[in-house]
């Protein structure tokens, strides 16, 4: 029999704010973090729109922390510190504490910076911290050191589903008895001319340069691609028993996860949404929920022409008539696409929507694509009724990874 897992701490640094509270307020207000990058190194690129974090890590961390960590590690550390302080765990046996923090590309910026140093100044000037900075397990490792986790430190990577997969992984660590507390989520900090050029080469990015703030508009009929963002979102999961014994405040209950894969294309979503539907159904089963229990869906929807409609269709097919009482939002309208950090930010937003009984609107979206047959919240927040409820949080990644997390009210 597996143990119940609850959420006791939240932390984030995003294009909307340097912590969870400011991010949540900005989301409810429909604000946008997308802008035109001003640094000259981006000037010649075909796309110059991105969503950097609102509060730069250099304003928070010490200089020696900045110099020996990749940006993805810096962001993960900042978000993890907030989540850990929020959970306020006074004492825990290190052997019962784990970390699962994932990222899409990890220390790509450090890798490229050190390559430039190698070329310009030679091998003797390559930083001895290069390997710890570029390794994808770097963010998880740094947070593991911060909190003293000995139960296991993991990095389950699945591109844009990574943040969600990490939360599911952390929950399984607790359910199977490997840990009582796990700090989990995702991070990404790779806004760089190369990564922008790479996504632009796939024609995946919005080119709405005349109105960058409104470029990311999931489900909108005029959407033209996603906006690259950065940031980190981290949750503290605990076994319900451990949380209640110490009188922890509990945000919500982790219901379960559904995992599937598209087996279709290295980057494009499968148009019939078969993998998505499989993941949703598996999540419902794992969480012991029926479609009737679902009152909200937090969509992955990145603002790409193909992906958003395929997801909406899959949601309607699985939930059927019950989709009518499950309004949908998409965080990426406001924040852009946090890549490895997106799935865990979506989870945090789902948890807060249930806690506050308010669904944030999809920022920037004005006219829904006619292929969208689900109730998308636009314009202003939507109230949720009182009573028991559950929400689903969808995250899909290049490579065809489908992760759906389920969260329940306390």
């Amino acid at each position: 029999m597996s143990r119940t897992v609850v959420v006791t701490g939240l932390g984030a640094t995003t294009p909307l704010g340097g912590d969870v509270a400011s991010t949540w307020q900005a989301l409810l207000a429909g604000q946008s973090g997308s802008l035109i990058l001003q640094d000259p190194k981006f000037a010649e690129l075909p796309v110059r729109i991105a969503a950097p974090v609102k509060v730069d890590p250099s304003n928070i961390l010490e200089p020696h922390e900045i110099r020996r960590m990749d940006r993805s590690q810096q962001l993960a550390l900042i978000a993890s510190r907030e989540a850990w302080a929020d959970a306020a765990i006074e004492s825990i046996d290190p052997e019962r504490l784990g970390v699962a923090i994932a990222t899409g590309v990890g220390g790509a910026i450090s890798l490229m910076e050190q390559y430039d140093i190698l070329k310009e100044r030679g091998a003797s000037r390559v930083s001895p911290m290069t390997v710890p900075m570029l390794m994808p397990n770097g963010p998880a490792a740094v947070v593991g050191l911060e909190v003293g986790a000995m139960a296991g430190v993991h990095t389950p990577v699945s591109a844009c589903a990574s943040g969600a997969e990490a939360i599911g992984y952390g929950a399984e660590m607790i359910r199977t008895g490997r840990a009582d507390v796990v700090v989990c989520g995702g991070t990404e900090g790779c806004i760089h001319p190369l990564t922008i050029a790479a996504f632009a080469a796939m024609r995946a990015l919005s080119t709405r340069h005349d109105n960058a703030a409104a470029a990311s508009r999931p489900f909108d009929r005029d959407r033209d691609g996603f906006v690259m963002a950065e940031g980190s979102a981290i949750v503290v999961l605990e076994s319900e028993e451990f949380a209640k014994a110490r009188g922890a405040k509990i945000y919500g209950v982790y219901g379960g996860q559904g995992i599937a894969a598209d087996a279709h294309h290295i980057a494009q979503p499968e148009p019939e949404g078969r993998g998505v539907m499989l993941a949703i159904n598996r999540a419902l089963k794992d969480a012991d929920l029926s479609t009737k229990d679902i009152f909200h869906v937090n969509a992955h929807a990145t603002s790409t022409p193909a992906g958003d409609v395929a997801e909406a269709k899959a949601i309607r097919k699985v939930l059927g008539a019950d989709a009518d009482h499950a309004p949908v939002t998409a965080v990426k309208g406001a924040t852009g696409h946090l890549l490895g950090g997106a799935g865990s930010l979506a989870a945090i937003v789902s948890i807060l929507a249930i806690r506050d009984r308010k669904i944030p609107p999809v920022a920037n979206t004005e006219n829904l694509d006619e292929g969208v047959d689900v109730d998308v919240v636009i314009g202003k927040p939507r109230d949720l009724p009182a009573g028991d409820m559950a929400a689903l949080s969808n995250s899909f990644g290049f490579g065809g990874h489908d992760i759906v997390l389920a969260f329940r009210s306390v």
């Binding site: 020696h64 110099r67 020996r68 000037r125 930083s127 001895p128 911290m129 710890p132």
Partner: protein, 79 residues
């Protein structure tokens, strides 16, 4: 450049690399035992010293630089 100047420069480097308060970087202190500078940080300190003071500090020498005084004296002798 006086020994005092070298010490001040080295203290600033140690502070930047490892976050250790510059005023605790004193001549008799051991990098590893007193200042808690790990081996990777030591490599960074050496690199920064080479850049700042225009010296070369080969790996064979680095292992002899146990205290701050060892480093200051080496830099003074090889600038």
């Amino acid at each position: 450049m006086s020994h005092e100047d070298i010490l001040a420069g080295l203290a600033a480097i140690v502070n930047e690399v490892a976050g250790i308060p510059a005023e605790t970087v004193q001549m008799e202190k051991s990098f590893v035992d007193d200042l808690d500078v790990d081996s990777l940080s030591m490599v960074e300190v050496v690199m920064a010293c080479e850049d700042k003071f225009g010296v070369t500090i080969p790996d064979t020498e680095v292992k002899n630089l146990n205290t701050v005084a060892d480093a200051v004296n080496y830099i003074a002798a090889n600038k």
